[in-house]
């Protein structure tokens, strides 16, 4: 009877939404039930999984298996690896174009951004960028893709029509993550070693503001902004501060830091649940996920996952 019940559970598609977390040093994905906050599945993937993103209709999930030099396409229902996409060497992060068809991939070891057609599974273009490309962003209108390069300290602005760079802007040391904000009017770029988030005016690539951080009792050099997300209304940004073990809460209109939330160690990337009541952060050193109650702006619980959790993505199931 019990076995039957268990089988039935496995066979039924999960009702709850899920947070998918890539574990860089375990070659696995931990799947967290966004309601019960339990790890429900651990899925074996290629080597050194980092970037993770779902197709717009959640039919498949794309995972950068960096050391396998592939982007793996996985059925989120079964966890089965359907096929690999040609990705160029050492894919780290990527962004799916609004057309759902083109994946822009940062090839960290190769100073290249690779554009892949996920339907024909072919490389459409390769664009030379700076050393150690990392952060990827696409404008809401799909016309511009950003690659940040960590050692070159630049944001490269790529025209998606021509697949060529049309502008390069310097940012502070070791740029990590990039996001378009406010209907694409602004581009935000975090700089890990520089300790800042720079806000650019997208129209002319000029700097609008630079956000700095200060946590009492934490030395400035340990405050290293990496991954960040914005709420759907784009009024609030949450910035992971790496070895400072905090997430900063920023008013996206005033660029003021309003609060710092304590997390696990070396907080890296983040994902919201569907109604944005909870924020899940990956903590690379403590190998866990901190669940932040967004309304309370405080950590609610911690979930143990695999070694070196890196990326996080929401899977909506209904």
């Amino acid at each position: 009877m019990r076995t039957l019940a268990l089988l039935a559970l496995i066979a039924t598609p999960a009702a709850a939404d899920e947070i998918w977390v890539t574990n860089e040093r375990d070659d696995t994905i931990s799947v967290i039930d966004a309601d019960t906050l339990q790890v429900t599945r651990t899925i074996n993937v290629g080597e050194r999984p980092r970037g993770i993103t779902f197709a717009h209709d959640y039919s498949v999930v794309y995972v950068c298996a960096s050391a396998s030099n592939a982007v793996q396409v996985i059925d989120p229902e079964t966890g089965e690896i359907l096929h690999d996409l040609p990705s160029g060497e050492d894919p780290e992060q990527f962004v799916l174009h609004p057309d759902g068809k083109h994946l822009y991939i940062a090839n960290e070891d190769d100073a290249i951004t690779t554009v892949v057609d996920v339907e024909s599974r072919t490389v459409v273009a390769q664009i030379s960028v700076g050393i150690e490309p990392e952060g990827m962003a696409v404008s809401p209108d799909g016309k511009t893709v950003i690659t940040t390069s960590e050692t070159t300290n630049m944001a490269h602005w790529i025209d998606t029509q021509t697949q060529t760079i049309y502008a390069n802007t310097l940012v502070d040391s070791r740029p990590r993550d990039a996001n378009f904000v406010k209907d694409g009017k602004e581009l935000w770029v975090s700089a890990e070693i520089g300790g800042t988030v720079t806000v650019f005016n997208t129209a002319d690539q000029t700097e609008l503001s630079k956000i700095r951080f200060e946590i009492p009792g934490v030395l400035p050099e340990l405050i290293q902004p990496v991954g960040f997300v914005l709420t759907e209304d784009e009024k609030t940004a949450f910035v992971a501060l790496g070895p400072a073990n905090h997430v900063a809460v920023i008013n996206a209109d005033t660029y003021e830091v309003e609060r710092y939330i304590l997390t696990g160690r070396r907080v890296w990337h983040m994902a919201f649940n569907a109604d944005e009541t909870k924020l899940f952060t990956t903590n690379g050193v403590s190998s866990d996920v901190t669940v932040i109650d967004v309304a309370d702006e405080a950590a609610e619980t911690t979930i143990a996952v695999g070694r070196f959790p890196w990326g996080a993505a929401l899977r909506v199931t209904d």
């Binding site: 960590e150 050692t151 310097l170 050099e221």
Partner: protein, 382 residues
């Protein structure tokens, strides 16, 4: 621009927007005769140092292509200080030197208009009484490395140490720094002896080393100052009491090592390995850091003028992402690149200094090596 592309063999192309800036760097290396060592199993690679500089050059060139900045690197090697000095007359305004302290000083004095980067000499005198206004140091000093080890010992509460020192000038310099660190961090130096064996210790280490270390008294770690890697490797496992070895062998404080892999270091390691076909050593790292510091300053200032670059490098805006977990910057009072010091053995990073709990009002990185209040360097006008 083209000539540097030819010199370096790099493919480079100019952008269109910004004014072109050509940056020429001269790399001066003294290839003097190394003192003989007991073992020849791991000789220095022929491209030690310059391979790191070439990687830094390639990193700079990639950035430069987006800004219309080009970079060139000319290597000059000489067997004597006199020959190197003579050759340095044709050097560019930006110079990286891989040579002992005396040669570094002679070159800095011979090229007063140049900005000189010391990528190898660890002597603390170069950062103190012998400092020069046109001389910056990307190599960590002996004191920085010794302080890193001392912090580890304090953290472990291994507070009793004994010191064995070889006869080479570098051994004496590192030993002095280890003694200074012991005092600074409150370690007890229970024994302090020169290494005096002249026979082939490889055959007799099991006979000689136990009784030799027994005489050094009770200690938690045996410190060895053997910077030319002559005898130190034979001490481990042969001490009278079962005690670890640290310093030049065993647990080693270094600028860099192939075992460093955190903080994105994997990327630098794999770029270096692809280019040089071997692991990246401390001098490779310091030479890379010199080129990258130049590149970063050129990128931010749009200038190749050594004076402008020096001012930027010593100013508050300069940070270098050095794959060691914290931003690197130059100490404004003596031109030393402040940097974390990994403590490594052959297989892993054991700890990275500054260790937790060693506090400093400005930056914990300044708990390593000579700090501003005690500085004897006056050339920087601080």
């Amino acid at each position: 621009m083209l000539k540097w592309c030819l010199v370096t063999g790099l493919m480079c192309w100019a952008g269109v927007a910004a004014a072109q800036v050509d940056v020429a760097v001269t790399y001066l290396r003294l290839d003097d005769r190394k003192p003989p060592t007991l073992s020849d199993i791991d000789p220095d690679p022929a491209d030690l140092g310059i391979a790191g500089a070439q990687l830094g050059l390639a990193d700079n060139a990639t950035t430069g292509q987006f800004l219309n900045h080009t970079y060139g690197l000319t290597e000059v090697v000489a067997a004597t200080q006199a020959d190197l000095l003579a050759a340095s007359a044709g050097a560019s305004g930006l110079v990286v030197v891989q040579a002992p302290a005396a040669t570094v000083l002679a070159i800095a004095d011979a090229l007063p208009g140049a900005l000189v980067f010391n990528a190898a000499a660890a002597d603390d005198s170069l950062r103190g009484t012998d400092c020069r206004v046109n001389l910056l140091h990307t190599a960590p000093s002996y004191a920085m490395r010794a302080d890193a080890l001392a912090q580890f010992l304090v953290t472990k509460r291994w507070t009793d140490v004994a010191l064995v020192t070889g006869p080479a000038p570098a051994d004496l310099g590192f030993a002095d720094a280890l003694r200074g660190s012991a005092e600074k961090f409150g370690l007890r130096l229970r024994g302090d002896a020169p290494w005096g064996f002249t026979g082939d210790i490889r055959r007799t280490t099991g006979d000689e080393v136990p009784s030799f270390t027994q005489k050094l008294g009770d200690f938690d770690m045996l410190l060895v100052a053997d910077e030319i890697h002559d005898f130190g490797r034979y001490l481990n496992y042969n001490t009278w009491e079962p005690r670890p070895v640290g310093g030049s062998e065993g647990l080693t404080p270094v600028a860099w090592s192939p075992v460093v892999e955190q903080w994105g270091a994997q990327q630098l390691q794999s770029r270096f390995r692809d280019a040089a076909g071997r692991g990246m050593r401390p001098v490779d790292y310091s030479a890379w850091a010199a080129l990258r510091a130049i590149g970063e300053a050129v990128t931010r200032t749009g200038s190749n003028d050594p004076k402008i670059l020096r001012s930027y490098l010593l100013g508050p805006e300069f940070t270098l992402a050095g794959f060691k977990g914290r931003a690197l910057s130059f100490r404004a009072w003596n031109g030393q690149l402040r940097q974390p010091i990994p403590l490594v053995d052959a297989r892993a990073v054991v700890a990275t200094a500054p260790l937790e709990g060693f506090l400093h009002p400005v930056t914990e990185l300044d708990t390593l090596g000579g700090d501003r209040p005690e500085s004897t360097c006056t050339a920087f006008g601080e």
